[in-house]
Symmetry: D2
Subunit: 254 residues, 4 copies
């Protein structure tokens, strides 16, 4: 299980979310409130849109709380659209290649959750990948695979449809594998303009997901960054949340 | 604040203490029971005596719970005398050079605690170091300095006297600096034959320290590795514990 | 292209080969004499047999010449059988998971060379892997795949046959892929008792491979560690070299 | 010995200098042309001015040629003023804290060269540091010390005077130490507006230093990034080069 946040709105310094709040992402790396495991110290990542069409990416294996480079980058780079993620491994190695967000072209993707008994399904699901993405896999996580499956299911043409098809395929695969473990997926995806965030599980316990909508920005988080009452809305289970470039939020049932 | 253990006795695989027990050192790296901070994820170290007169040393910046190399080394190397340490930084950088144990010649040293307002005293205390040790400093921790101060105070001739003199000097320096913060030091030292462990603080709250004495070994730990009643004895405050090569324990007031 | 050495014989400290000789493996990491690229600084690994049936493993992403842990391990651990490898990436990421040697059960494997246009063949070759090995892949190198293919081709029953079948399969696959690039493979394999080393290429330029046989040991190396005349014999192309536990060497055409 | 470059001018992406040219800084990390050692693989750093008054900083222990994060940052961040450095250690550890550039407040500093027999002079020179800088030292390099000495000698008031006084002091100290080794210093310093670069040695062999002045920018480099004739001017020995915010270059004898 991991923690993440997706910001879009007026350009800010990521440290305003990663380091400053009481329950900042760095604070959650040491002690998260709503995760199954409280420590998320198996690496982290920051992906941001700025001067280029494709995002910048900084991923490292150290815990977010102790990485001096993350502190400087989050202080120095101003961005109107970024993803940040802290990792708690569900078994795979601590390596940069296993850290989120993942990127391909102009897309960013990050994930909290896991595919139950992934090792039983890895071969079958990887077989679905297009050739170029199959050859491009760098790590060993189910998360990287889910990202690339989205392309198989038409991400470039219809992101919402691709999300639904991918979740269905993995859920079906998990069931077919005979696994009794759930497929849980709280994930965020963006092309640099529109954010898509899903809260999904094949059992009754999808990981937590919240959002905050203000005139200046939209913020989607695994758990609230502070305790301000009424500021944070919980995303219902089996829901996809979409933020358009004007930062308006709409939700749809998956 | 950090956590550590010192083993001497029949040769064992360090994994028996670092990974196997319920409250193993790796478990403590994720969630220690008796430390001020529960996570000790700012690097770790393993120093062991084996085929050579001087100890082997493996230190790394990753949390102990996630380092695949530590897992293999702790599984593969058999040793009758080793120190293991997990670090929770009190402000200095996460680097190998700041990880414990520290080594010089045949000596190993590791520390839990801190010198209050160290930055006020660093210059004055470093000035005491012999030339070769002054030039040899690699990191920026008070712990490395304490280790090297022991040599200034005659470690090679009389370890117990050097320990007492060093604790006194740092305590005096802390008071002279005007700091209101305590000097806390729960530390272990060895020349590969005799272990010296101290539990000390200038205030009433020295970090915890326990030991276990059996026919086959002596084990000194920041906190018990399991909940076996009667197995673990608490080291009193202001006490030095000495284990001779026959693994007999004696304690003395500091 | 990478550099490696395989030692079996009287127990020695690996530093005698990794750091001491004029053209030690660490020296080769900075400036190798016979490799296509002179710098081999994309990580390294040391696998050794000692107290356990399965080998110990230390792999790290730093260059071998600068890793303080490698220096201490190579100085401290005595072993009568070890593999050491320095990596020059042919495109895949610098990560521990991509460093050699690879291990599974009691086996160690390391490789110099590459599968031409690997990305064209990865899917087809991975499809051959047994389920447990398919799920176990951690990195993204052709080398890890070659190691696991050996199991598909019966490594546990007949290592020589498995080596031949794997080389043939990959050579066939490379040709079938339409790649004009060669498949080059200078590799070492052991179960902790017998060493197998191959020098192979689908073109006329297999990477260099040498061995040294003395009463006390056998040493197989990518390039000689010193300039002693008559000490080093070159392994012919398309040859497998086998050292039995008594360290006698025999060679066979592949 | 190390390699570095200092850019000021129209905002560009650092990859244009770090990765794109034939003899880019990344190329120099693998094989520099004019350095005493050809490989500069003991870490690197990038410091840049952008949205804040103080520079951003990214330093890492991997070789520059293989760090995926550096590649993304150099591609993503646009800056009109940045320093980049690749390190070849002269003996001290490979750690982030020993990588250049160093920063304090709005200042950046990087260095190529070394203080001869630094270990003989470290104590004496560190004693000169102001209290806050003494306590702030994180690494163990002579370079970090030289940077902090500049503050002792009035960097904030008169940078040129501070540079001269620091070089003189270290040269005097080297001579007084009895060392027969030279003090060599090719270094760059900036407050985010004006660049100061020096080429100095106590012997006749100061490290190389070049500059390129165009209408749009000034570039100062350890060695030319390409072979364009007439593009690069060599800085004479014992010279300080100053670029004002309009990117005009002037040189003065030290």
């Amino acid at each position: 299980m991991c923690r993440w946040l997706a910001y879009s709105g007026s350009p800010i310094f990521p440290e305003d979310l990663i380091f400053t709040p009481d329950n900042s992402l760095a604070a959650q790396s040491l002690h998260s409130c709503k995760a199954k495991v409280s420590v998320n110290g198996d690496g982290f990542g920051l992906g941001w849109y700025g001067e280029r069409d494709v995002p910048g990416l900084y991923r490292e294996v150290l815990p977010a709380w102790s990485d001096c480079n993350l502190r400087s980058l989050a202080f120095s780079i101003r961005s109107g659209h970024f993803f940040a993620h802290i990792r708690a491994s569900t078994g795979t190695a601590t390596s940069r290649q296993n850290c989120h967000p993942f990127t391909y072209g102009r897309w960013l993707f990050m994930h909290n959750g896991q595919i139950g008994d992934y090792e039983l399904q890895r071969r079958r699901l990887e077989a679905l990948l297009p050739d170029d993405l199959y050859a491009r896999r760098e790590g060993s996580t189910d998360s990287e695979l889910i990202f690339y499956l989205l392309f198989h299911f038409g991400l470039e043409e219809n992101p919402l449809k691709a999300l639904r098809a991918t979740l269905e395929e993995v859920a079906r695969s998990t069931e077919a594998s005979g696994s009794r473990k759930p497929f849980r997926c709280t994930a965020a995806l963006t092309d640099g303009r529109t954010n898509y965030a899903v809260r999904f599980s094949t059992d009754a316990h999808p990981p937590s997901l919240f959002w905050q909508e203000r005139s200046e920005h939209t913020l989607i988080v695994s758990e609230p960054l502070d305790t301000a009452v009424g500021e944070w809305q919980q995303v219902p289970a089996s829901t996809v949340l979409v933020t358009d470039p004007g930062n308006k939020v709409r939700t749809e049932a998956l």
